[in-house]
Symmetry: C2
Subunit: 347 residues, 2 copies
DNA sequence: TTGAAAGCGCTAACAG
DNA sequence: CTGTTAGCGCTTTCAA
């Protein structure tokens, strides 16, 4: 049933070398021979065996993406960029979803298996040193997205600058008593956003007490969740309600958390943006529906670029690690109170 | 650098056969030999070469998922089910995203390539007969989700019954002049939902004119899009506004379309559910935010089950094609007007 | 129990 | 231009 180049060779009355040449468009085949072979190829409905090919030419044409499922829309959009560009480049994409730290190591290990993939993309996940070494040892190209290691190509969003801009926007609206609802500082982006928040306050000589940076109670999803947002809001509530120097604005580390905040605020009768102005981060699809003012990240582009970097590296394995950064853009909607045309109806 | 079983064999002073046996836990190796070999394996940090292994034992431990990006959340949730279960089963997952019909064939062809994957899952996409034959010829397991072909395992949602239930709900609320906003009948689920709509009307002896089933103008995404929903609403508007026998309720083929309808309705000052009651299909994440009454599909479960079926088939390649169906559940929210506690504020 | 050797299906270098 | 041959790295007989 399965037809191989041996069958083709026999049928066409040539050697397997010639068959291979025809299949790979090598120039050194006479036109008539090529025609004859190709007709046999078609007649026998020949299909090359993927792995035999890969074994022989040491190339897999496959890449792996290791993606945490933090917040659905965010990574889904990144994934679309990855997927589209991979298809364009003729690369197969192996998808590894990471739901807990143990899985991360497993995926890394699987990706490192010799001959499995030509390159790997790691998203928003810290690369353990042990694995960094192994990638270098094996010479396996690795692109880091939304995380960093000097030894590898990396693409990231300037979280710190973004957080500065977000906070700056709040300051520019006249707020002087700010809080931040953060994700867990285990996550690099979360930490950077805290730093940016602090930077902006410092630049404006605004001081806040330590408890005005609110961390998530649970580690789940590193705090990038709606529930974490709700809980944080409850911690924030007393500060909003106190008569002396009440908090009037909050920078929230992500849109998902902000959605939790908006919901909780409605439950507690706190008006957003009147009682509390909110700016968050990501611009996921839902952000539009909640009319969130937020820092937009180019999710699709980041995914697409990850593939491009990988392809570049295939062409030139030894060049220096590249660093690309995106600057998030402020998208003004209703939750910050800047564009107050109509009352902000929580959906 | 790259260490092979030949290196191991030399280092351990045995033949490659013995090394292979140790690695694969064959019984026929003496304990001391095995210990010696395994210690060498560890010392040299040996990693088997994925494709060499696959070539030799004719198994890839990889499956492919061919997924159209109809509506982001819907397939993302399905994909999560696929991904989780695949990881559990130790299978690598190759993801093929389909954005237009031409890509479908390409993905099918790629999946069919000999030796590439052990099985394929096809989601919501019609399987061309030519490919059905090739899958059978090659003996490559194929699981169909949300689509059907008697020759293959299939998992689907009872779209027709679901549409009946949705329409029945509208009828039970007293509506007698109904319309349907459909997706393109090229898509199997879309056609089934039209049939279900008709069934329910027939059962209740309600008659409608042909133009009360509104088809999308564009083929993009087979009409499963917000824009298609908006356009359809415009076509529907005159029927809602006419004085004689106005349309008071609509069954919409999907949540994304319903969101377009809700938005357009707001623009035109049509109140939902007062002027127009709406029931849709899918229960994607956004459906909650729009308070859509809808028919819930078990997306995650469908994805997970697809992998399970594939694994079953690996164990028993020749058994008859299985058919599993899910019955969608009515989720009552505000867009149908059944639970009218407070006015329905469009978000 | 173990080593040698024959594939798995293909590519590429090497003679002719 | 073409056929032959030697790998690619592993699994699996088949003798020993």
């Amino acid at each position: 049933m399965r037809v191989t180049i041996y069958d083709l060779a026999r049928e066409a009355g040539v050697g397997i070398g010639t068959v291979s040449r025809c299949l790979n468009n090598h120039p050194n085949v006479s036109a008539p021979t090529r025609a004859r072979v190709l007709s046999v190829v078609r007649r026998l409905n020949y299909q090359p065996h993927a792995y035999a090919q890969r074994l022989a030419n040491r190339k897999t044409n496959t890449v792996a993406a290791i993606i945490p499922y933090f917040t659905s829309s965010f990574f889904f959009q990144v994934l679309q960029g990855v997927q589209d560009r991979a298809a364009e480049a003729g690369l197969d994409l192996i998808l590894y979803g990471v739901n807990d730290p143990a899985q991360k190591e497993l995926c890394l290990r699987k990706s490192l298996q010799r001959g499995k993939v030509d390159g790997v993309m790691l998203f928003s996940l810290k690369l353990p040193v042990a694995y960094a070494e192994r990638f270098q040892q094996m010479g396996l190209p690795l692109v880091l997205v939304d995380t960093f290691d000097a030894a590898f190509d990396s693409i990231y969003v300037e979280n710190r600058e973004g957080a500065q801009a977000a906070t700056g926007h709040l300051l520019s609206l006249g707020h002087r008593s700010l809080a931040m609802i953060s994700a867990h500082p285990d996550s690099d982006p979360a930490r950077d956003r805290i730093d940016g928040f602090r930077d902006a306050l410092a630049a404006a000589s605004v001081e806040i007490s330590a408890d005005q940076i609110i961390l998530p109670g649970s580690h789940r999803l590193d705090g990038f969740s709606r529930e974490a947002g709700r809980e944080a809001f409850q911690a924030l509530l007393p500060m909003v309600r106190r008569s002396e120097d009440p908090v009037t604005a909050a920078f929230v580390a992500s849109d998902v958390q902000a959605i939790g905040v908006v919901e909780a605020a409605r439950d507690y009768g706190v008006s957003i943006p009147d009682d509390l102005a909110v700016v968050s981060f990501d611009d996921i699809e839902l952000a539009q529906h909640y009319r969130l003012t937020t820092m937009r990240q180019p999710m699709y582009e980041m995914g697409a670029l990850a593939i491009e970097r990988l392809v570049q590296r295939f062409g030139n394995p030894c060049c220096e690690a590249s660093v690309t950064s995106f600057r998030p853009q402020l998208v003004i909607r209703d939750s910050c109170g800047a564009a107050r045309k109509e009352p902000y109806a929580t959906p």
